[in-house]
């Protein structure tokens, strides 16, 4: 409200154009200096945090896993993102994660799915075993469902534990009053829409990835010994 007068009252005495440019130049210089410094310092920490959060989520939805690698579908098979993609950038939506046990044996895939919930978009990660054809676990990454009601999709342990495991054939099904078959999920009382959204997101994501995950899973390639020079885009 006050800004109106502020912007309109700028006609007192005209300083030279040079002065204006100089002012903005100084401000820009200071701000640029601070920003680059802070960015340089925090970017690796933020990246590490994100990687850690992802690892933890993947290990949670695929039980007993200890390693993961990013995979994407190319020329009829799943390949590692890191070495096969070369110069091209893989879209985030086309990535899934292979999870491997402590002995590097394949444990399952972790797949990201998203869709519309009661209030806003829900993003979730679920573990999938292509042999058993079952969901191994489910973890909500991001949702704005109603506190105390819809947010039970991640706060209610009983609801979450139903996903480990649940069969995906013919499809994951939402029921009320207790699950009776291995492909059923019991809806949260009073939050049918949110429960339904979770089930739908998994079914949709499964449809997308079903054929692509039918082949033999790619082998785990242990990461090369950590080299600390991987900073990107710091101009």
């Amino acid at each position: 409200m006050k800004e109106v007068e502020l912007t309109c009252s700028a006609t007192a005495k005209e300083p030279s154009a040079l002065r204006l440019v100089l002012t903005l130049g100084i401000a820009g210089l200071i701000s640029g200096f601070i920003l680059v410094f802070v960015y340089q310092y925090t970017a690796p920490i933020i990246a590490a945090n994100k990687a850690k959060a992802l690892r933890e989520a993947v290990f949670k939805v695929v039980p007993n896993s200890a390693y993961l690698q990013e995979l994407h579908y190319k020329d009829g098979e799943l390949v590692r993102v890191a070495d096969e993609s070369g110069g091209e950038k893989v879209q985030p939506g086309e990535i899934l994660y292979g999870a491997y046990g402590p002995d590097s044996g394949f444990m399952g895939y972790a797949i990201v799915g998203s869709g519309n919930g009661f209030q806003d978009t829900i993003r979730l990660l679920y573990g999938y075993d292509p042999v058993q054809r079952a969901v191994l676990g489910m973890h909500i990454l991001d949702s704005k469902e109603t506190p105390g009601l819809g947010d039970k999709i991640y706060k209610d342990a009983d609801f979450v534990s139903q996903f480990s495991p649940v069969l995906v054939d013919p499809s994951v099904e939402l029921v009320k009053g207790g699950r009776k078959a291995d492909n059923q999920i019991d809806a949260i009382t009073g939050a049918t829409i949110s429960s339904d959204a979770v089930v739908k997101i998994i079914n949709n994501a499964h449809q997308k990835w079903d054929d692509k995950t039918k082949g033999a899973p790619p082998k785990f390639v242990p990461p090369p010994p950590p080299k600390e020079k991987e900073k990107d885009g710091n101009e």
Partner: protein
Amino acid sequence: MIKKPMQLLLQTSPFLRRGITTPRLMSEVVIATIPVIFAACWYFGLSALLLIFASVAGAMLTEWFFTPKKSSTQPSNSLLDGSGLLTGILLGLTLPPGMAMWMAFLGGVVGISIGKLVMGGLGQNMFNPALVGRAFLQAAFPTAITTWNPPATSPGSLESFTAIRESNLAAPFMQSSTDAVTTASPLGLMKFEHEPTPWFDLFIGNTAGSLGETCAIVIIVMGVIMAIRRDFDWRIPVSILLAVAAFSAIPWFIKPELYPTPLGMLLSGGLLFGAVYMATDPVTSPVTPKGAWIFGASIGLLVVLIRLWGGLPEGVMYAILLMNAATPLIERIAQPRVFGRGRSAV
């Protein structure tokens, strides 16, 4: 548009013979709720009376507490005009039978305080106070207010009348113990299970639902009587019901197995109760006939929208509140043209 606090002249029809004073109107509407209360007791027993008592107490005590004891602007005691009593009764009738009494009390307090007193009292409220109370309860206790008890198996018998639901008596601020027998409301059944309820049950009220909303026949009869006595503008309920029937017929024609029949839509949930007792509140609805049609039709459209495609099975309360908010805008559009002046800008 000038509002007088105590005297409300209804200009519904050109042949109106008498101005209706607020206490008279209020007492007529209060009397008109008695059959509905009776029906509620018939199907849900003593719970109905307990809840209505609690919400009336909440409403009246709030009104009493905040009314200036000696005030020049309010010549008569606003407690006696019956509006607080009516708000309390209407609020109580919209609650599910298993609701805790303290919640009903709180609803009465909230409805009167922020729905009415804050805006300047009787005749100045922008939203229907009873619905403000209920919307608050719906947002505050979403589980409790959507937990439905089935109606008594032998309605009207003494034992079903005196069997008090334990959840009514929960200690203030505490959770109500979940009653053993709960069920889904007809709208919930239709929405989530696609399972229609027989229309005759809906008609006589033998279904789960809020206390006052289940028995369609009583509400229809009382609505007709009140319309004849000109307690409200008949255009509002008529346009709401017509709009709901019309808008719900379209999806039903296309996919009858997925969407409810127009008749089912009309008879189930709080639609009739809302159309007759809530939307017709003269303070929060447009005064011109054209405005009343727009108001009612919009409520009907919103009800269908929320019921069929929204997250909640029922949307009557929200539809009325939203159109209460839009009433000033409707009045601008529907204002009769004054000679010598252009239309006021929207």
